[in-house]
Symmetry: C2
Subunit: 551 residues, 2 copies
Amino acid sequence: MKKSPLQIARAAYQPKMPASIQGATKLVEGKATVSVADQAEIEKLFPNTYGLPIVTFEKAQAAMEAKAINVGVILSGGQAPGGHNVISGIYDGIKSINKNSKLYGFLGGPSGLVDHKYMEITDEIMDEYRNTGGFDIIGSGRTKLEETEQFDKGIEICKQLNINAVVIIGGDDSNTNACVLAEYYKAKNTGIQVIGCPKTIDGDLKNEMIETSFGFDTATKVYAEVIGNIERDANSAKKYWHFIKLMGRSASHVTLEAALKTQPNITLIGEEVEAKNQTLDDVVTYIANAVKARADKGLNFGIVLVPEGLIEFIPAIKKLIAELNDMLAANQAEFDTIAADEKINYVVSKLSAENAALFKSLPASVSTQLALERDPHGNVQVSLIETEQLLAEMVAKKLAAWKKEGKFNGKFATQHHFFGYEGRCAAPSNFDADYCYSLGRVAALLISSGKTGYMSSVRNTTEPADKWLAGGIPITAMMNMEKRNGKMKPVIQKALVKLDGAPFQYFCSKREEWAIETAYVYPGPIQYFGPAEVADITTLTIQLEHGKKVE
Amino acid sequence: MKKSPLQIARAAYQPKMPASIQGATKLVEGKATVSVADQAEIEKLFPNTYGLPIVTFEKAQAAMEAKAINVGVILSGGQAPGGHNVISGIYDGIKSINKNSKLYGFLGGPSGLVDHKYMEITDEIMDEYRNTGGFDIIGSGRTKLEETEQFDKGIEICKQLNINAVVIIGGDDSNTNACVLAEYYKAKNTGIQVIGCPKTIDGDLKNEMIETSFGFDTATKVYAEVIGNIERDANSAKKYWHFIKLMGRSASHVTLEAALKTQPNITLIGEEVEAKNQTLDDVVTYIANAVKARADKGLNFGIVLVPEGLIEFIPAIKKLIAELNDMLAANQAEFDTIAADEKINYVVSKLSAENAALFKSLPASVSTQLALERDPHGNVQVSLIETEQLLAEMVAKKLAAWKKEGKFNGKFATQHHFFGYEGRCAAPSNFDADYCYSLGRVAALLISSGKTGYMSSVRNTTEPADKWLAGGIPITAMMNMEKRNGKMKPVIQKALVKLDGAPFQYFCSKREEWAIETAYVYPGPIQYFGPAEVADITTLTIQLEHGKKVE
C-alpha cells in the first residue's frame, strides 16, 4: 500500500501517556459512586455493577508478572479520529502485562460479536494502523447490543476464543449498552468483563470524570482549519457571506469549539435557540441584523456557523414537524390522490393556522421536500434540509425587504459549505493520538485488575500528558432514566452545551464584538511536529471548562 | 488582533531562498528570446520589450551599494497562498539593496493604480503579514489594465510617489497586461519599469521557464488533505460514493494533482474529455462502470474527482449552450410570454433534435436552471451548474436502469462536496512561502537591474531551495495571438493539462488499478515543521514534469 510522506513519518510517532502508567502500576480504589439521577431505578437495573468505586492507577514499586489476558475489541458507530490508537493502546497494554496476551477485533461493529466475525490483531497489522485515522482496521457498525440473545451469542465466541474481556469503543448509547452487557455477564457469572471507551467527534459524551470524548479535538481542528481559510478568503475577497454547517445533530459543541477557535461573525448554538424558544424568524432576523450592521461599516462579507441539528432545536419547527407527521399519517390515502402540484396547498389547508403560516414562510425547496420526501416510516425527513442554504435564502429575502424599506443598503452574496466527513477520519492530532493510546492502555489495566462495567478515564488533560490522571469510572455513575421509544430506559446522560458553562459564557462575552468587527483567527492545519504550544494543545472548550485563560 | 498559536509560530519563519541571491549578486544575460508563436505579430506589438534575453542572477564577489528604489505592488485577481510572501520578498529585497527604498501597495487590485489608492508598507505592517495566507494586506481586484487612459493615470501617481517600478502579481491575463503596460511605459520613455509574478492556484500559468504558478502547491495540499480524510471515511464507513468538485474552470491541473496525491477511484480531466470528444453520457457511463466493477467485488463506496470546468469541456454541452444562448436571444419576447411551467417544453421545441435530446436527458433541476436563470448579458449560467450533483444523479439513474436489467446488484448512495475557498487563502506551505519570497526578491533584483517587461522566475524547484535558479523571463517570450471577444490579441499562452505530459501519463498508467482497487493515499494536513520530506516537498506534478520518480 502506497503511503504519503506524512503517513510514513507519523507511523513512527510514540504516543505520550500519563507517567503513572509507565512501568509498574497499582490500582487505588476511591469512593463508591451513585448514578447522576434516578439512583433507585438504576441500582435496581444494575445490581452487580452499581455503586462501584472510582479507581485510579498510580505508580507502584515493582511490577508483578500478571497472567495473559485475551481481549476482544469493538468499534461502534460513526468514525472518530484516534480509534486505531485506542486499539494500539489496548494491544501494547495487554502485551506489556503478559506477552502471551491476545487481542481480537470483532469485525464491522457490535454485529461482529454476535455473528462471530473476528480477526486476531498481530504486530504486523497493528503497526500498519498506529496514529492513523479511520476505523478501517476492523470496521465499525451501528448494530445495537440490547437483546439477551445477542449477549449469549457473545458468550459463545468469548468462550471459544478464551476472551476475558470485551472493550467497546463508542458513544453514549454504545457505552450504555456496554454497561448492560457488563451487568448481564456479571449476573451470569461468565467471567467476561466489559470496558467502555468514550468516542464521538460530537463531544457530547463527557462529564466530571470524562473530560472529553476522543476525536472531538482532531475533528474540530480540521473544521477550524478550513473555516479559518474561508475567513481569510472572505476578508480578502470582501464579497461573500459564507454559511458553514458543521456536524453535530444532538449537541452544538463542535460549532461552539470551532467558533472559539476562529471567531466568526455569527455562531448559532442549538441549545440556546431551544432554551430561548426562538423561532426561525428570530434566527433569520438575528443574522440579518448583523449583516446590516457590517454593511453599514462597508463590510459586505462575513461568516455564519450553523450546527447541523439547528433546525431540530427550534421549538416551532419541532411542532410543525410533529403536526406534519401526524397529519400526513392520518390523511395518507387522500394525500396520495392529490395532484403533485396541489400537494403543498393541500398540506397548508390541513395544518393549524400557526403551522400553516410557518410552513408557507419556508423556501419552496424546503416545503416541497418536507411535504413530499418521507422516510420508510412515513416521517418527514428533517435531516435532508440543507439548513445553511435555508438560512442564507431566508436572510436574503429579509434583506431584500429591508432594502425596499430603505433599511438596508449593502450587498449580500452568499456561499455555503458543510463540513463533516472532512474531519471524522482525519489522522488523530497529537492530543487525540496520546489521549486515545492512554485510554487503551488504561482499558488494559482495568481488565488486568478484574474490573467490569467501567469506562476508561484519562483526566487532567489541559496539562502535559505525563501529568494526566489514569483511572476508571463505573458507567452506572453516568446514568439516568430517559424515555426512549416510549419506554423509560437507563442511559448515559448526553452532555449538551451548558448555557451557564465557561465555554458558552466566554463566547457570549465576545460575540457582539465578533459580529460587527472582523476578528477572525486563523488556526491553520493540525501540526504533528513543532513547538508544543502549536502541536500538543487541546480544545479551548476543555481549557475554559478547567478555568484556563484563553486570551 | 488575536492570533492562533500557529500564526504566532509561523510569523517567525524565515523563508529559504536560492543561494545565488543571498548576498552579492550579478546579472547574467542569456540568449535573446522569441515568442512561443506568432513572432512577427508579437514583435510588431511590442517593439520595445520583444526579443529580450533571458537573465539569471549569480553570486558576485562584492556587493555594490545601489541607489534607493521605490516600487508599487499590485495584487490582481483571485487569491492564492503566498501573495503576502511575494510582497515581503520585494520589501526585503529593495531594502537590502538600499535601506531608503520604499514599497507602496496599490489598494484593491489594479484599480488602485488608476484611482491613486495606495499605502506605504512599513516594517510594522509587513511583519504582520509574513508567511500568512490571503491578499488582505492591500486587497486584490479584477479591474483589467488595458486602456491607455488607465496607463496614463498610473504614470501620474508613479511620478508623484517617485515610483521606479510596478510589480503586478497575477495570472496569465494580468501578466499579459503587465507586459502591455511595460511596453507603453518604455515607449513613452517614462522610466517606469513593470515586472510580473506568476500567481494562480489553478496552475495554468507555467512553461519551460516558469515551473509553477504560486499557490498551486498549497491549495492542492489543502484539497488533498480533505480528500484523503474523506477517502479514509469512505473506506471505514463503506457506504458512500463521494463526488468531489475542485476549483479550476479552464484547466484540470488542480484535479490531476489532487488525484496523484490521493489516488481516488475516478478522476475526470476536462482536457481529455474534450480531446476525446466525449459526451455527458460517456462520462456518466465511465463512472457507472467503475461503480459496478467495485460493487461486484463488494465495494459499494468510492471517490470521484471532478474539475469545476468539466461541463464546459464537453463538446456536446458547449454546442447545447451555444444554441440555447442564440435561441433564447432570438426568441426573447416570445419566451417571456410563456407560462413558467411551459418554458421547458418551449425550449425543447425550439432546439435542434440533437440538442433537445441532450437537454431532456439532464436532471430537471439542471434543465430548469439553464432555461430560466440567465446572467445580466442574457447568457445561460453554466457556472451555476453543480456538476458533482449532476453527475451523481445521472450515474444513479443509469445504475437504476442497469439494476432493472439485472446488470447491477450493488448499492449506490452518494455525498457531494465542493472545495475551492478552503484552499485559496490557506497560509502558504513551506514551498510556497519560500518560492513566493524568492520570486519577490528576484523581482527586486530585476528592478534594480533596470529590467522591464520581465516575469520573475525561480526554477529547479524539485531541488532544495538553496539550489534554485533565479532570473527573469521576457513576458513576450510566453505570448501568442488568440481571439478574445472577436479580436486577435497578444496573450500569454494558457497552460492546459498536456495529455502527453508526464503527470497525465503517469495517472493513465495507474487509473485502471485505482478505479477498481481501494488504493487511497492519505496526505494529511500541510506540515510547517518536521522532516524535509514531509514539510518541504512540492507537487507531484512538478516532480513528474522534471523526470523524478514518485513511487
